[in-house]
């Protein structure tokens, strides 16, 4: 497949493409990150009028919400939408499509080699303004920028899977080359027809990002070691999740936790007097709110194999539980049982939906 090289920054190149797509009527709407310079806030915008693209910052390293979750509710419409997604957001969306919570049919997915995102804290405090210039320099060198989310620093899937268009942002995109867009699918070629820029047969070469990959893998090892505690399992569990206040924020921002009625928010967990009496008669004391550790264990078994490691959960946790690191670590184990990688292929079934007649000879 071919690529397009535009003599501008990657961010302006993508905005230009969205503008072209909207103005030429090839798409009905564009989904991109926006920056409101007055309030210095970032958010996702679904834009139909190209003049509103002036505030677009499609490649900003901020994730206010996982776009996979946002897209899930709008992609089912028949309108054509171009969406700029981070690689993990695209993977999360693919996981949702598998669960019939979205459709790739009318979607043009634009993704990019991702340098990781800053925690929402940095946006709230305005610290991000100082961090951004340094961030760009660092990712061009293939290094890991400081202050980004811990799971981003430890993420080895920074190259988009299944994107129609891949924009080079880290490593390969050297200053001076400009914005390089790789067209991976027929759809991408069709949509970009008539769009300016220089056509080239330059291919995306993942091996150029080896330095980033090695750095990320080293970080991953460190991250997993940091959440691995010594001592008996139960103590470790209390150590990690004991601080939980039961707000369920981690599950509400999780793109994979899609259930309209979560079991943990259903009537099964309406605590009443008989529950308290029964529990107290056995143990003589009860932690309130109850079942916070149960909640995390339940979520781990329900969806950890589909965890894309976006880090939203840790970011919103009010008591700083390393939820994302725990899920990423456990998720890799549970996914490995089925040789599964979340978001790799939309045709690949979710492990719990399929089975093999001969497997797990040790069980049963």
């Amino acid at each position: 497949m071919s690529s397009i090289i535009i003599d501008t920054s990657a961010s302006r190149g993508v905005t230009g493409l969205l503008k072209f797509l909207l103005e030429s009527g090839k798409i009905d709407a564009a989904l991109t990150m926006r920056n409101d310079p007055e309030n210095n806030t970032y958010d996702f915008g679904l834009i139909t009028d190209a003049s509103n693209l002036d505030e677009a910052v499609p490649l900003i390293p901020v994730m206010t919400v996982n776009a996979g979750q946002v897209l899930s509710s709008i992609s089912i419409s028949r309108k054509k939408i171009a969406a700029v997604l981070k690689p993990c957001e695209l993977r999360a969306f693919v996981e949702l499509v598998k669960r019939e919570k979205g459709s790739l049919e009318n979607l043009l997915t634009i993704s990019y080699t991702c340098g990781g995102v800053f925690p929402l804290d940095t946006v709230i405090t305005g610290q991000i303004k100082e961090l951004l210039p340094k961030y760009r320099k660092t990712i061009l060198n293939g290094e890991i920028p400081v202050n980004t989310r811990d799971t981003c620093r430890a993420c080895e899937h920074f190259i988009p899977m299944n994107a129609d268009i891949t924009v080079s942002v880290i490593g390969e995109c050297e200053p001076g080359v400009g914005c390089v867009m790789h067209l991976n699918t027929e759809r991408a070629v069709e949509f970009t027809e008539g769009f300016g820029g220089e056509r080239s047969d330059r291919k995306f070469d993942p091996s150029t990002l080896k330095k980033t990959l090695d750095a990320r893998l080293a970080e991953k090892e460190k991250l997993f070691a940091s959440v691995t505690k010594d001592g008996p399992g139960l103590d470790r569990l209390l150590d990690t999740f004991g601080k939980c206040v039961g707000c369920h924020g981690c599950s509400s921002v999780c793109p994979i936790c899609y259930c309209l009625l979560c079991d943990f928010e259903s009537a099964n967990f309406d605590y009443n007097l008989p529950y308290f009496e029964e529990h107290l008669s056995r143990k003589g004391a009860l932690r309130l709110p109850p079942d916070t550790i149960f909640f995390h264990l339940g979520r781990l078994t329900h969806m950890s194999f589909s965890c894309v490691g976006c880090g939203m959960c840790s970011d919103v946790c009010p008591v700083d539980i390393p939820v994302a690191a725990m899920f990423k670590k456990t998720g890799e184990k549970t996914a490995a049982l089925f040789d599964y990688l979340p978001g790799r292929d939309v045709e690949e079934s979710i492990p719990v939906m399929v089975y093999k007649e001969e497997e797990f000879p040790d069980i049963g």
């Binding site: 264990l297 078994t301 492990p351």
Partner: protein, 141 residues
Amino acid sequence: MKKEFTPRITSFLCKWCSYTGADLAGTARLQYPTSIIPIQVMCSSRVDPVFLIKAFLSGSDGVLIGGCHPGDCHYETGNYHARRRFAIVKGVFDSLGLESQRLKLSWISASEGPKFARVANEYTEEIMALGENPTRKSIFL
């Protein structure tokens, strides 16, 4: 005198196979320990992973799932799904360093009364060797 530890093993038994197998063990007057606390389910795949976790955190010393042999499920494929879910729960337990030996899945058909008694005996012994589940005493779970 020290009171002997009697484990409590919450057992989810499929109505069509394992529960009937347990019945057969009873009518055949086979001895098996009282540690087994049976709960009848329509299929081993009815057992949501959270059932296992709830039983574990509530102080069950062991949790047993009994289902039809692979290929014999009354609903054709239920036990294959149960096996996958069980593998996931075990994976999570291992990853967190929890005692996954306290979870067991066993295929026991309706005609296998002796097997039911054997599994009940063996598993009880295994759990007795492990000792009481620390979650029984832990208040703040």
